[in-house]
């Protein structure tokens, strides 16, 4: 019997026994549903981390020279953490050295940040994220200025108290006003607002629009890092290939500057989006493992249910099998009929499960800050998984059906 024929037969069988078929495929359906939902959320989180988090906070083809990593799963132990704190700080004076070894076309910027109290006559004082920066900070961070402008090299060098503020800062401190040209007091010092950033949105519910960015040489850096150090020196290279090269050169000169002997570990850290995402990968693995264990149980139970129902079906349809055999069905025809039926049932369950799983993922995305990305491969995999579960659970019942003696089968009432 041709394959298509067998599928039609299976679908007809399912249609005749709707309720029974529904319960039969419930197990597979639920298993696949959770599988799709979990994979979608894990995928969503990781692509979110890669696209939003890594790009927004760390930048593309960028590394940041720091005392120790900022993003990631932190120090492994108390000792490690204390060792990190004993490391020398990164200073603004390191900038010239770093800059001297970078490949042509690279951009650099220093960054020094902290939460600082700000106020205007229009609003009550509030904390803003103060950033004292210089160099190509705006380019590296891909900040677009919505209104006004970024500060000039001259303003940067001279440390003129000007500030570029985030969308939320502008709205809070200058309600219904044009902030450009107005003063914003940060830690008592008045800064002239010269630009407002394009709205950045948020990462994991943390707003990226609460920033106030001033030139490094302005008074701000006394408040963000009073010891004269910086939080990081950001470097962006034109290509990812040059990034590795630049990191090697910077490592070399920094080790030289700090008189590290060969064999001694680095006492600084160069954070890239990959190093930050390495931690995300760990998280992803754990979540995927935990998240697929439950659906796997569902699929196994689903498979057992299908096997059981198929055994009942073989018993109920013994006479039909006898008729088919008397008309010329071979063992393999009967075998195929029941295998295809089990596989069709199970695949149907998987398809319904996929639809429900996508729905769940979408609802979670809608109701929580967790994003969801439906991976096409997970849909293909879930469908195949459904088919495979059906085939595996159908083998035994199908074999029993195929082995029936036609005379006995025809005699059965």
């Amino acid at each position: 019997m041709p394959f298509v024929e067998a599928v039609w037969l299976a679908l007809a069988q399912i249609r005749v026994q709707k309720l029974k078929s529904f319960f039969t495929l419930l197990g597979v359906c639920i298993g696949v549903m959770f599988l799709i939902a979990v994979i979608s959320i894990v995928q969503g989180m990781s692509s979110y981390m890669e696209n939003e988090f890594a790009a927004k906070l760390l930048g593309v083809n960028t590394f940041t020279l720091r005392r120790f990593p900022w993003f990631g799963d932190g120090a492994g132990s108390e000792e490690e953490w204390r060792a990190w704190l004993r490391r020398p700080r990164v200073y603004h004076s390191d900038l010239a050295l770093v800059q001297s070894v970078l490949p042509p076309g690279s951009r650099v910027a220093v960054e020094s940040q902290d939460f600082l109290q700000a106020q205007t006559q229009f609003a009550r004082p509030k904390q803003v994220e103060g950033h004292a920066v210089d160099g190509d900070y705006f380019t590296i961070k891909k900040y677009d200025i919505n209104r006004g402008r970024a500060f000039t090299t001259q303003e940067s060098t001279l440390g003129v108290p000007v500030v570029v503020i985030g969308d939320e800062v502008a709205k809070y401190f200058f309600p219904d006003l044009d902030p450009i040209g107005r003063p914003l007091r940060i830690k008592g010092t008045p800064y002239t607002v010269i630009g407002v950033l394009e709205k950045q949105g948020s990462v994991f519910g943390l707003s990226l629009d609460r920033v106030a960015i001033a030139p490094y040489n302005s008074p701000m850096h006394h408040f963000t890092n009073p010891r004269g150090d910086v939080d990081g020196i950001m470097v962006q290279t034109p290509t990812s290939l040059l990034l590795t090269e630049a990191m090697e050169s910077v490592r070399e000169v920094m080790r030289g500057r700090r008189h590290l002997r060969p064999g001694q570990p680095d006492n600084f850290f160069m954070e890239t989006s990959e190093s930050a995402l390495a931690f995300m990968d760990k998280l992803k693995k754990v979540m995927t493992m935990a998240g697929t264990a439950f659906p796997a149980i569902g699929l196994i139970v689903g498979g057992l249910v299908i096997m059981n129902i198929m055994l009942v079906a073989v018993a109920e349809r013994t006479r039909e099998i006898g008729i088919r055999k008397s008309l010329g069905a071979r063992k393999r025809d009967i075998m195929r009929q029941f295998l295809v039926e089990a596989a069709t049932l199970s695949t149907l369950g998987a398809i319904i499960g996929i639809l429900l799983g996508i729905t769940i993922a979408k609802v979670i995305e809608w109701k929580t800050p967790l994003p969801a990305a439906i991976a096409p491969w997970s849909i293909v995999m879930a469908t195949l998984l459904g088919t495979v579960v059906g085939i595996i659970s159908g083998v035994y019942p199908a074999k029993r059906a195929a082995a029936l003696d036609p005379i006995e089968a025809l005699r059965k009432e």
């Binding site: 019997m1 041709p2 024929e5 007809a12 005749v16 006479r319 039909e320 006898g322 008729i323 088919r324 055999k325 008397s326 008309l327 010329g328 069905a329 071979r330 063992k331 393999r332 025809d333 036609p406 005379i407 025809l410």
Partner: protein, 271 residues
Amino acid sequence: MMHTDEIPLSTTAERQAVAAETGTAPEKDWVIVTRGLKRDYDMGGEVVHALRGVDIAIRRNEYVAIMGPSGSGKSTLMNLIGCLDTPNAGEYWLAGELVSDKDEDELARVRNREIGFVFQTFNLLPRATALHNVELPLVYAGVSADERKKRATEALERVQLGDRVHHKPNELSGGQRQRVAIARALVNQPAILLADEPTGNLDSTTSEEIMRVFEGLAEQGQTVIMVTHEPDIAAHARRVIVLRDGLISSDDKRATFIKSAGIAPPDLSKK
């Protein structure tokens, strides 16, 4: 009206000659030849000899009834002729092929191509339409969907059910169901039509109707073999083989059978 004269029966001498040539393929004209056919059953340690050496030779176009009381071995013989079972000893030649030593899959193919079954209980698939039921043998023969539909429709028209193709078995009368079964049996143009108590579940009027269908098929040249325990039904065939205790006790023309059984000759007039 004597139909027996129109289609010649094989003679006893011819049959004996064919049955004696053990190991050689009979001429193509002999649709069924069995030589020393034996079948034993193991019934819980006790061996029952259902067939003890049966020699049968049936020529193309013959209309034969196999008669016998229950326990005579006629069901066993019917299963063997229908290739649903294999003998313990002896040869069975069907349409020039030695089927007694074929394996299961080859037997399935023989059932599909050479045998058309008509059962006492009709054995139609209850949820399938008449058309689909008739299509079934063609499905297993690997015939394309369009061709199947065409041939199944033709077969149903042959049994005057052209207007019932989309009815399911429970929407048809007993006689109509049996005619669907006959259409299904004929759809693959088998060498033999093998009917097992075809009127066992039908009232006498409907039985006559089915017997007229068989008569018509025999006239068109279809080889028909009918297994029954009712002498009145057997008397419709042109030749009657009577089994007793696993052996052939008689193999006669209809007229001889009617006389020896002491029954009224059937009404073979067409209505």
